[in-house]
Structure formats: C-alpha cells, structure tokens
Symmetry: C2
Subunit: 212 residues, 2 copies
C-alpha cells in the first residue's frame, strides 16, 4: 500500500464526521472546498486539510476536493466497504434504537445476533435478529463469527457480558452501559456514555442562565 | 467567585468522565490519586492534574484528591446541582432509551415534555411525560419553560424541529438525528451521532482483521 501512512487516532475520530458532511454535500455538488467541509463539520480548515492528507488527498487549488473520491476513500480506510457481523447484547429500547439506526446495513454492519437476560424479550426481533437467552451467548457468538458486539445492558450486567464476549473471541466492543469495563489489551473497547453529552450541555446552559 | 478561571472546552468534555469514575471510586475509597483517576478515565495523569486545577483542586502529595470534594465541585461547575426542564422530541426507541437512561433525574434533568409526529405515539409516556402532537410543540415548550431539548427524530424532520425549538426560546439542543443542523449563534447545539462510534470501531477492527 503506497499511502499507508499511519492515521492518528484524532483523525480517525473525525473521518466519520467528514463522511456525513460529504454524504450531504454529494446531493448538491461534485467538489467541496476545505473551508466548506470544515464549516459544516465544525472544525477548522487547516485541520481538514491535514486530516485528508492522510488519505493521500490534497485537493485542487481553487476547485477543492472531489466529493465522490473522498467518500470512497474514507469508506475504504474505515473498512466500511467490508461486511461486519454485529451482536447486540441487551434488547431494550437502546438496543432496538441502535439496531434500527439509519445506515447500519449501508455501512456494512449486519446485526446477526441479539441477546437478553429477560425471558420476556427472548424470541423478539432486534434489527432482524431473533433475541436469544444469555445462557447461549458464548456458543452463538462463536457460531456466528461475530466481529463487533454492542453492550446495551444495565451497568450492573456489563462486565459479565464483556467477559463472555472476550471468551468467545470478540475483539471489538462498543459499550453503552454507564460503567467502566476492564478488558485485556488486545480487545478494542469504545465507551459511549449517553449521559455525558447532557452534562456537557448542562455546563453551557448553566453559563447562559448565569448571564441572564 | 475566587476560582472562576475559565474552563477550556476540552476540560469540560472530560469532567463528566471523571465524575463517573469518581462515583464508582466513592464506593471503595475516600481519596484517589491522579494516576488512578487517569487510568480509569483513560487519559494521562498530567492531563487529570491540569483539568482538576481548573476546579481549584490540587490534591495532596502522597494522598491524592478527596473524592467527595471533587464530586461536589464537578457537579457544581457542570450545573448538575440545578434542576433542568428537558423536552424530548421523537418518542421512538431512542427517545424512550434516553428518557429512562439511569441518572437523568439524579443529575437534575427532568423530562417535562415529549412530542411525536406519529398520532399512534401521542398519549404514551416518555420518562414520565405524556407524548403530545408536534402541532402543539411551540406553545407547550414556552408554557413548560423548557431549558434543554433532545432531538431523536429521523434526519428529515430534525431541522424543522430545531427551528420550532429556537422559536420557543430553547437555547440548548442535543441532536441525535444523523444530520447537521443550522442554528443561530446564541443557541448551544451538541451533536451525537450513534453511527460514528461504530465507524471508528470499524477502523480498528479492520486493522485487526488485516493483521490476522
């Protein structure tokens, strides 16, 4: 690979954002300036140019970047052109919301398994997968060859779920349970705390209220 | 206020993370070292010490920081000791998941209104609020004095919802719809894209798979 410069973590985090902006822009235009892309993504233009340089894309002065090329290149670098087998553990509202979140199948994420500890939820559907009881999780994960697991259980259950996922060889975990998980070094763990954004917003609202 | 140093945006973003770690630590210990706090929060210890210095908290050499003090101080700075009136627009799975997400009431967030364009959802409950039709949104928002609104509608409806929120004087918006919104400068908008974390995870999974 000629352009296999190692992409910094912060750049990786911004690529999905650019991808969304580019997807919207593609409906209007074939090329986009770094300034326009920056404004819509909420970052500065120099940052955009630097990030995109890691993709081997430098744009054309006075014209900008070709939208279609960037979309394909970001998709390729993020591995969104490959199919991933996803399991959702926790078939409550959040698990359901994620499974039906627009764009999962289009980005290659296929929900192939779902689990819940609640017998009342077993047999239901989550994103096309039939909910199975926690007792069979280990064997089903192995059997389906799950690549990525999403934890949407209550906090109290999350570590035990993570341990089972790891025992089944799942190396990528996205955790929505509001608790810090311990995983071995080889496991890639991303943590999303839905409450955190509310707390950040609270800080700014607090400041607005104090001014008023 | 003696300690009203302006807190940088990046520090604000990490305070809720420290708060979660401290909440867990409080069950075990009365003091915590910056190294321990850093390890559990997934940042480095120098960063933790710098962030906490904005709270006027410098810890004690060989002892660390007092957990209870830090929790109170972060709560106060984030404005989590005040009550906020929250509206949820979009009563689907995601709206339901957010409304029942652990810790909202404990942090002072009270869901006082919920709306949906779907007549089948009107009259249902979201976090204790009765779902009302979109047609009455403007007057209900004003009437209830909503501080913060959460948008969990499909992408296609989100901008119109934001326009109504702004017309009603709501100055803080948390948007979960996967679309970039335009808002006036005085409005504080935070964007959460649930798909973005999956795409970031995809990048790392892709690399793991390429290695194997």
């Amino acid at each position: 690979m000629a352009s296999a410069r190692r992409i910094p973590q912060a750049t990786v985090s911004r690529l999905p954002l650019y991808l969304r902006v580019l997807g919207e822009a593609a409906l209007e235009t074939g090329t986009i300036s770094s300034e326009m892309l920056a404004a819509r993504a909420g970052v500065n233009a120099a940052q955009v140019r630097k990030d995109l340089s890691y993709l081997g894309s430098y744009g054309t002065r006075g014209v900008g970047y070709e939208v279609g090329y960037l979309v394909r290149e970001i998709n390729r670098r993020l591995g969104l052109d490959a199919d991933r087998r996803v399991a959702i553990v926790g078939a409550g509202n959040l698990g359901q919301a994620l499974a039906s979140y627009g764009g999962f199948p289009a980005r290659g994420f296929h929900v192939v398994a779902a689990f819940d500890a609640d017998p009342a939820k077993v047999g239901g559907l989550v994103g096309g997968a039939v909910v199975q009881p926690s007792a069979v999780m280990l064997e089903v994960l192995v059997d389906k060859g799950v690549d990525i697991a999403i934890i949407t259980t209550p906090a109290s259950a999350a570590q035990a779920v993570a341990d089972t996922l790891i025992a089944a060889g799942v190396a990528c975990i996205l955790n929505f349970a509001p608790v810090s998980l311990s995983v071995p070094d080889h496991v890639i763990l991303r943590q999303v705390d839905l409450g955190i954004e509310m707390q950040i917003l609270s800080f700014y609202q607090h400041r607005v209220a104090a001014r008023a």
